[in-house]
Symmetry: D2
Subunit: 347 residues, 4 copies
């Protein structure tokens, strides 16, 4: 951490700040510059925050040098984490497709979808039972009944399942039915929920929040990991920007950067990222080209009667078409993925 | 709602869409334009969503005309809601100040602060016991112990209390100690939590989410109200934008607009909005000038040793100074607040 | 256009609004709904703006139904525009690479780069002579001298050239030296400059503004086209969002959507979009996967001594590596590009 | 400036970086930390940019400590700049109102408005003659004819005048007619234009760009000042965010912060910031409460027939009402403005 002093900071201020630094068992390195004095802090800064210093008289700002996440970082673990669930490996060489309806609407609907997306290449069935909806008057999901249908459909179609949990008290219930617990974008900083899924020993799919920085996203993963659950899958699903022609803005730079900063698997959700079925395919291809190791896609047998997200749902046929294109893209970037893009400045 | 057809929509498409509209007991008004055909929907559109139509063949988009919130809107209730708690009225003529530390750190700290902010004009004591922190390694609050200290300090200083609740299962616990339940910005769309506080009969302070639109903010209030709890206080606390020189961007337009669109009281939190103690005063004055009916301010007896948010905390003396200035601003805009600013276009 | 009346609009208001509509030779269709009255406008709305009605008493808002751009839209021209310059076709089946340094620094530097990027597959040489720099104290480019070096390097290496013009009075000068005139992101709404390049008969590369919506971007193209110059190349170069870990946020959804809305060629600039050389490759692959028909890339023989943008410049070797990967991605999505992704809702 | 080395930077890298630093006549201070090595640079860093180092092998990032603007900063000039034009002082104790129509539409319109806004308290008449419009098909202003009407109206009503210039080649022309040259938001980084007005000896009103940071805004002022024109008035006019209920988001924190960072006068434009006439009053009060030293307001004698911006224009009567309220707010914060809000951490 670097502490920058105010222009008119006094000797007394400096002395107090240096003392405070030593209280934390850190070594202060004072550099007196032409316009400002700065202090470099050397030592184990575990848990230390800029705010511990920014309230001190004479301090202009405190600038952290190191990322605040540890367990989620490549510093902690150099090689990629591969999450193995039965025969499916997430984070390895094979692309993983999670597909299914926004919400489980009926036994028939989820069964029909399961067979269809399975045939198209998906190995994990998605379907919401507890839906976080902007309006209290919208369809909120079938609850446990939906989980039962989802589990049954996954079983008969030979697929793993993933579903969102929105209440810490439902984590155990949802865990009984699904293979992967999903944390939605709106709950990415619901720290009670993060801790709760951190206590489970089930993989967690962690969506990036609508306005979460990459650092905050990795810190949310850190919350789960700090409770002992290291099986976290990062999912970029578009961020909120000034552009409203698409539902959100898919951040492919974040996919590429998250893969460098963290060893955790990174996938993408092109359905929520675009909100328009005709853009899901191009966005999915782009995500994989940038390094995504899987996709989560909304597929509905009849998008025109879907109870939610009809405009962004693909038909099974459209999904199959997309899987083909995405597969070719994955092959195209595979040599690069193995050798990795050149490190910065290593010429 | 207005449905816009695609350029190449066929007669068949139109017929199907019209039938679907009638299925919802609505009356379709078809307008054949030069470039596009549009359909106006007449009737009770309760619960109807654009997505019900956007998945239909031939539909380009569905544009809602009316705001989706009802109970929170001025259409439902013309006059201002005033929330009376003991002798304190929130939403009336008198400005309300909620002040105190970011987190309750000790019995002494909260007691000292209570007396100080009370003397400066605050009637409600704030203090976090369950803290939503970006890092799992940061101080997370004292939990129930903190609530005890807060309640005691409120009692002895003759103040009401407000504290954040972050887990639906803690709502009852927090309710036993405080007068107002706070929903933080990161939980504005934690719908389980919103429903839970909706079941209580305690006032709820609802902070606007970091990237929540005004409409989403009012929809979050609608969640609470739809469960029967009509005592919701809206709190603007700055939104996330590209500007990083301030912690967030205080949206004074949202304060003014929320007061027009909704009958609920609107207050502001200039501490989180700016993140810098030297800007809290100007931002607080601006919020009240725009129509805020109260302020929530972080005050710490010794900001330089605060365990969180030291850089944005005022000393009691600074807070007292601010209350004076803000009070003068409130008087300055009072005549306008009574007559209201001119309605649009009413000349 | 749809005009929505205020809740308490009177008969008189309605009559006045209807009269105003008829003044514009449009036909009003009044729909009296349960909560609001709306009016649909039928006829040629050429040049009509929502603001013509939003100032009228009784009007809540005016909602345009049609996009405001004409010449740039697929409605005006269904098939892709291909811009042919010598042997290079921009917008056709072949990817086009524009590569070179941020700024022309010397004759040697641009010559060396030209040969190198040519060998790697680039057909167009980029190099700034007039640089828009945030600071007046930064290197501002070599001016006409830089254009001379650029033109010479292009000639000897057998490449076309592109360079930015920032002042309307320099348009003629720059035109004498280069094959493509570049309008930078900061000048996307410099309407004097747009008109000036619209008078030329040279292709124009139009970068999207930092906070320009897709609609505003296409309207900027419309400015150029409305002056008679139809050879506009759209270039997505990342937008400004809350995320600061990357220099900008590459908007791949905008690439895919611009290709649907407009017939103009769309390329991408992954260098400015990411600002970090190690992310340029993945971002370039993603852009092409989403439908970009070319890339503009900063390449410098020695990024470590570049006078600007060193951190995001590739070495020639890194660029060659990237071209290979991007080429494979282009092949992977080619079948899709021909058949196109499925139209919305056409099942 | 602080240079942070990569985790795996070698001794050789360090040596090269240190040599480069010395080449710039700066003194490197190497601090070997637990996780990273950082280097502090001491000396005159005039014109030095992070990019000079970020391209070097072994460098992770370069973090500037000092703001890049000089002439515009409080470091360069401690006391407020007051720009005196005739009897009007901008930046002093008296609020300054600039009012008038978005565009000069006719001699009668601007004359009528001039008398009306003068009577309400405005001392400077605004009116656009060269209008930057998003659409090439919209009214673009009357050009020099508009300037003539504006100048005449200013003269007969006894007011100063301000009008926007959008083309460097028009700067001289516009200067002949008006007292203050306005640089619009879309041209804030039109560096040719900034340099051109920098050559004049007329005050310049510099609007903040739609997505410009406060630092970039002050750097734009620096461009003008570095050419010798020190009479720059900063104008906050709302930034672009995800919120679309208001046209832009008025950034009151930026007003307060710009006044601390710079000695230049700061005013606000609540008309463009909100885009809705009913919010102009509250936003204007908020801006002044935050420290704005004047307001620029769109006033039209008949907003319902305005050729542009009708929805956000006030009638003269509404403007008069606003001036009264804003005046009271200015008085309310005046004591604070004199003593200034407490410095950070000075307890």
């Amino acid at each position: 951490m670097i502490i920058v002093l105010q222009k008119d900071a006094t000797e007394n201020h400096l002395r107090e700040i240096v003392n405070r630094i030593k209280d934390y068992n850190l070594e202060p390195h004072v550099i007196v510059g032409v316009a400002r004095t700065v202090i470099g802090l050397v030592g184990d800064k575990n848990g230390l925050e800029p705010s511990f210093f920014e309230g001190l008289p004479g301090v202009e700002k405190a600038v952290p040098i190191m990322a605040p996440y540890k367990l989620a970082s490549r510093d902690a673990k150099g090689e990629d984490t591969i999450i193995q669930i039965g025969k499916v490996a997430i984070g390895g060489d094979q692309l993983v497709y999670m597909a299914g309806p926004c919400a489980v609407e009926s036994r028939e609907q989820i069964l029909e979808t399961a067979y269809a997306v399975r045939a198209a290449g998906a190995s994990i069935l998605r379907g919401g039972a507890f839906k976080p909806r902007t309006s209290p008057y919208s369809f909120q999901g079938l609850g446990e009944e939906g989980l039962e249908y989802l589990a049954e459909a996954g079983e008969v179609a030979g697929m793993l399942t993933v579903s969102e949990v929105i209440n810490p008290s439902d984590v155990e219930l949802v865990s009984r039915y699904v293979d992967i617990l999903q944390i939605g974008a709106r709950n990415m900083q619901n720290f009670s929920l993060l801790r709760q899924v951190g206590h489970m020993r089930k993989p967690v799919l962690l969506k990036r929040g609508l306005s979460a920085t990459i650092e905050e996203w990795l810190m949310a993963a850190e919350y789960i990991m700090s409770e002992g659950n290291y099986q976290v899958i990062l999912c970029e699903r578009g961020i909120r920007t000034f552009e409203t022609a698409t539902r959100n803005t898919l951040d492919v730079g974040a996919i590429a950067l998250a893969r460098r900063l963290s060893h955790l698997p990174v996938i993408a959700d092109p359905s929520h990222a675009t909100g328009r079925c005709e853009l899901v395919g191009p966005a999915g291809c782009a995500a994989v080209a940038a390094g995504a190791q899987g996709l989560m896609v909304e597929v509905h047998p009849n998008p025109d009667v879907a109870l939610s997200d009809g405009a962004q749902s693909l038909t099974p046929r459209q999904f199959a078409q997309m899987v083909e294109a995405v597969g070719r893209v994955a092959e195209a970037v595979a040599p690069q993925a193995t050798d990795r893009w050149p490190e910065r400045n290593v010429i």
